[in-house]
């Protein structure tokens, strides 16, 4: 359970799961992020957008505390970046799932092992490993293909395996860094729908993309990053009919075959 954190800018709203306070990130000589402040509440779905290299990935890496701000503070699940011991970082990461543009599956392991591996790493009891792997692989519709190797699957399927892997430890936060970047529009929409369904289950999802077409289909909060600055952070409540048409009308159904 996250305890209530207090920092220079006062006590934090207990609903806030991720807080950035005047974050500056200097990367060698370059200013990757400058005075970025925002907070994200439990269960939100947030889209971070902006051109490539604007600082989207830096924000995600600050959240996993792979990077630390040169100024300001990052608070995730009540853990404060400026008071974070190295030994506690693994515990933070167990509450965060991460999905990449290039999937990053282990090519020499079956789908099942790719997901189970994460449970073994964190020391889940053996009896629960199979149950959890089955739950997430069913959720992404790939339980039937659990014995396949990654290269035997389509790009969309590989990304779904990656999402299952990110979700198997039941994280409170799912970070998706350009998860649709390598996918065609139809498959991309399936992945986005899957992320929405994960969000419906209560997981906070942060989705980064530079693709405006995708952003336009969203009715959710969109943060725009440009040259390391947060230039817009809008809680959009766009009614369904005013949104851009979906990338595809084809809905993803669990168990459906997309090979």
């Amino acid at each position: 359970m996250a305890d209530i954190a207090v920092n220079r800018w006062g006590p934090l709203d207990p609903r806030v799961i991720i807080g950035f306070f005047h974050v500056q990130l200097r990367y060698r000589d370059q200013l990757a992020l400058d005075d970025v402040t925002f907070s994200i509440s439990n269960g939100e779905f947030v889209c971070i957008t902006g051109p490539s290299g604007a600082g989207k990935s830096s924000i995600l890496r600050l959240i996993t505390m792979d990077l630390f701000p040169t100024q300001g503070q990052v608070v995730v699940r009540g853990m404060v970046s400026t008071r974070m011991g190295r030994r506690r970082i693994p515990h933070l990461r167990r509450e965060i799932g991460f999905v990449f543009q290039d999937f990053r599956l282990l090519e020499d392991r079956r789908v099942y092992d790719n997901v189970a591996f994460v449970q073994l790493v964190v020391g889940a009891p053996q009896a629960q490993v199979k149950k959890n792997v089955m739950r997430v692989l069913t959720q992404v519709g790939l339980w039937d293909k659990r014995d396949r190797l990654p290269h035997e699957l389509s790009g969309g399927e590989q990304q779904r395996v990656a999402i299952a892997r990110a979700m198997v430890n039941s994280p409170k936060i799912l970070l998706a860094d350009e998860p649709t970047g390598n996918l065609d529009p139809v498959t991309a929409q399936e992945i986005i729908d899957l992320l929405f369904r994960i969000n419906d289950g209560g997981t906070c999802v942060i989705f980064s993309t530079h693709d405006h077409e995708i952003v336009k289909t969203f009715g959710q909060r969109v943060m725009v990053i440009q040259d390391g600055r947060l230039v817009s952070d809008q809680e959009r409540r766009i009614p369904e009919r005013d949104r851009a048409p979906r990338l595809t009308e084809r809905m993803y159904q669990p168990g459906q075959d997309h090979a």
């Binding site: 693994p90 073994l120 009891p125 892997r165």
Partner: protein
């Protein structure tokens, strides 16, 4: 605490590097084994040299010849002062008559010669044996020089003057082998650390994902540490095996030399495991550091 599932996982990962790259693993073990063989050989020679020295020193005896003209009582009274000299363990008195009898015994058939002498020409003497810590060439020479200053003492003779030469040589060898050993050790650690680096490079993605999903540093490191230690273990066994085999084959010519005791063999192999540990530790730390700055 690690759970059973984690242990099984770590064991599988540790052995994966071995089975995936049998050739690299084999070559690593051979190279490292050869380096360690050189090391073991040096240690073995040094050990035997030490034992030879010890045996030679045990044989050192010092004879103190007394000036002529002391009466028997004075001669006998010298025993306590001799024993009081630091390092002297036994002081045995040999009178003129005993010395003559000894010589007669040694001459055997030709003992008749001695009867032609007008008087007994042999001096009375003391035969000193030294305590273990005082048998090296320096200590013996010091004691001899000290005794020569006594008015009752005519001369001091000690056997094995070559002891000093042997000691010098052994000293030289010890320094030489120390330097060679250091070079060999660095080489062995380097070879292991290189191989572990290869394994880590090919496990880049596994490491990355482990870190991402919250594996502790120790968990990420352990398969590679275990792999390095296994390399050390096998290399140590190879080195000891070859050395023992060679020793056995040449045993007739090398009669009198000794091989390592079982405890020493175990100690050496354990030391090799430690080298493997250090080598892989170096590789892992470097890898994780580079990853951070990437």
């Amino acid at each position: 605490m690690l759970r059973r599932g984690q242990l099984a996982y770590l064991a599988r990962e540790s052995l994966a590097g071995f089975s995936r790259r049998r050739l690299t693993t084999g070559v690593t073990i051979l190279i490292m084994g050869s380096a360690l063989l050189v090391l073991a050989l040096f240690v073995l020679v040094a050990l035997n040299l030490g034992m030879m020295l010890e045996r030679a020193r045990a044989g050192v005896d010092v004879r103190v010849f007394l000036v002529d003209g002391l009466d028997a009582e004075r001669q006998a009274a010298l025993q306590p002062p001799f024993l009081a000299v630091p390092g002297v363990q036994v002081a045995r008195y040999i009178s003129k008559e005993q010395a003559l009898a000894e010589l007669q015994r040694e001459l055997g058939d030709e003992a008749g010669l001695l009867e032609t002498l007008p008087e007994n020409p042999l001096p009375a003497s003391y035969h000193l044996e030294l305590a273990p810590g005082h048998r090296d060439a320096d200590a013996v020479a010091r004691i001899a020089a000290d005794l020569r200053r006594w008015p009752e003492v005519d001369d001091v003779v000690f056997s094995q003057v070559w002891l000093a030469a042997l000691e010098n040589w052994a000293e030289l060898f010890r320094w030489g082998s120390l330097i060679v050993s250091l070079v060999v050790l660095v080489a062995a650690v380097f070879v292991i650390s290189n191989t572990v680096r290869l394994t880590m490079a090919s496990s880049r993605r596994v490491i990355e994902i482990q870190i991402l999903v919250g594996a502790t540093d120790g968990f990420v490191r352990s398969p590679f540490l275990i792999e390095g230690m296994l390399h050390g273990l096998f290399a140590g066994i190879v080195a000891m095996g070859v050395l023992a085999g060679g020793f056995h084959l040449l045993s007739l010519r090398l009669a009198g030399l000794e091989f390592f005791s079982l405890g020493q063999v175990a100690g050496f192999v354990l030391f090799c495991v430690l080298l493997g540990f250090l080598g892989s530790m170096a590789a892992i730390s470097q890898y994780l550091r580079l990853r951070k700055t990437a």
